[in-house]
């Protein structure tokens, strides 16, 4: 839900129209649960305005009952992801200028997740799938052992470099066609996490994790549409991670190690 934050005075006054009235534009925002509907608000149009600014304006000035979620406002926490004009995005890093094609802006909760209320979705299924893909690090060493020496230039570590920056915002999950068609599909983020750990030479859960991601609803369900890769705000490639898992699963199967 929205965290109450004091509305700080603006350093510069907003731009005014010819008659001194601030120009506004229509914004349609999802209200209610899955059976809800869009509600239209007229929101002042300002310079360098983000979609999160728009939602915050509505909640503070037009309808305080609007539920939405955010925390950092600078693209670090991933909690403000919503569907903006049909595409999942971080609202804090999305300028209205970049997405308001035509005159209107339509803001909805993330797809493929249960709606709690208004713009807030329940992320539990998303993170449950991280657990189902065995996304937890399972150490093989104890505190009495020496630190593992991992060369930054080794292929396995470089593969991790390409995946590790995922912050679990759910944008890829909401953008994935297969998640929408096949509810038990683990999804791009969970499989990306599994691939990260598969490449971690310190991890000791290799076979169990491969079995978890090879089962029904696992990596083989991906159709390589690449919607996840196209939508990832961190410019990661979950598609590449899933392809890596597919290769590894096939190799393990043929070698009798699955």
């Amino acid at each position: 839900m929205a965290t109450p934050v004091e509305d700080h005075p603006r350093p510069h006054p907003p731009a005014r129209g010819r008659n001194g009235v601030e120009p506004t534009f229509p914004v349609r925002i999802w209200r209610g649960s899955a059976s809800g509907a869009f509600q239209q608000f007229d929101v002042p149009r300002r310079a360098s305005q983000t979609v999160l600014d728009v939602v915050t304006h509505v909640q503070r000035h037009l309808d305080p009952t609007l539920a939405y979620r955010y925390a950092c406002r600078v693209g670090m926490c991933g909690s403000c992801a919503m569907s903006v004009n049909g595409k999942a995005r971080w609202t804090c890093r999305t300028h209205v200028d970049a997405v308001a094609t035509g005159a209107t802006l339509e803001i909805a909760p993330l797809s493929n997740l249960p709606i709690v209320r208004d713009l807030v979705v329940d992320m539990a299924p998303f993170f449950d799938k991280w657990a189902a893909a065995r996304g937890q690090f399972k150490p093989t060493a104890t505190r009495h052992d020496e630190f593992a020496k991992v060369s930054p230039s080794s292929p396995a570590r470089r593969a991790i470099d390409a995946t590790i920056e995922c912050i679990g915002c759910g944008v890829c999950y909401a953008s994935c066609d297969v998640v929408g068609w096949k509810p038990d599909y683990l999804g791009p983020a969970a499989l990306n996490r599994a691939w990260t750990l598969v490449n971690d030479v310190r991890d000791g859960d290799g076979v169990a994790r491969l079995r978890a991601v090879a089962a029904e609803g696992g990596c083989q369900s991906c159709h390589t549409h690449q919607s996840c890769t196209r939508s990832c705000p961190k410019h990661l490639s979950p598609t590449g991670s899933i392809a890596g898992l597919k290769r590894l699963v096939a190799q393990a199967l043929v070698k009798g190690k699955l």
Binding site: A212, Q220, A250, A252, L253
Partner: protein
């Protein structure tokens, strides 16, 4: 990183499920690779037959003349019988919400029909 270890009952079920799903994936990709080649050869054959105005009799004659032609079309039929039901399985699951043993039985029957019908056709042309 990957070492097989003794399993308890739930883990063994997970292992079987993973192997079953992984075999389906590998078989579908392998049959797709075979089909990619077979379809190209088949299309080239059709174009050749049309451009040279080959009669049905001439085509059957060529099927008899070289054992490679029936062998090629037998491989083609087997690849189709493997590939098509696996693809239909994904369609049934994702678009129709159908899965489970009954669906798999129906798909196995489709595979048998494709295999039987295809091999019958190859046998009739080459026999």
């Amino acid at each position: 990183m990957i070492d097989a270890q003794p399993l308890e009952a739930p883990a063994e079920a997970a292992m079987r499920g993973a192997r079953y799903a992984a075999w389906r994936f590998v078989l579908q990709r392998a049959s797709a690779a075979v089909l990619a080649l077979c379809v190209v050869v088949h299309l080239a054959t059709i174009i050749y037959a049309v451009r040279h105005a080959l009669s049905a009799q001439a085509i059957v004659g060529r099927m008899h003349a070289n054992v490679l032609w029936p062998a090629f079309y037998t491989l083609f039929v087997v690849a189709v019988a493997v590939h098509a039901p696996l693809g239909l399985r994904a369609v049934a699951d994702e678009w129709l919400g159908l899965r489970g043993r009954a669906t798999d039985v129906v798909l196995a029957l489709i595979a048998l029909v494709l295999l039987g019908g295809g091999l019958y056709a190859v046998g009739s042309l080459a026999g």
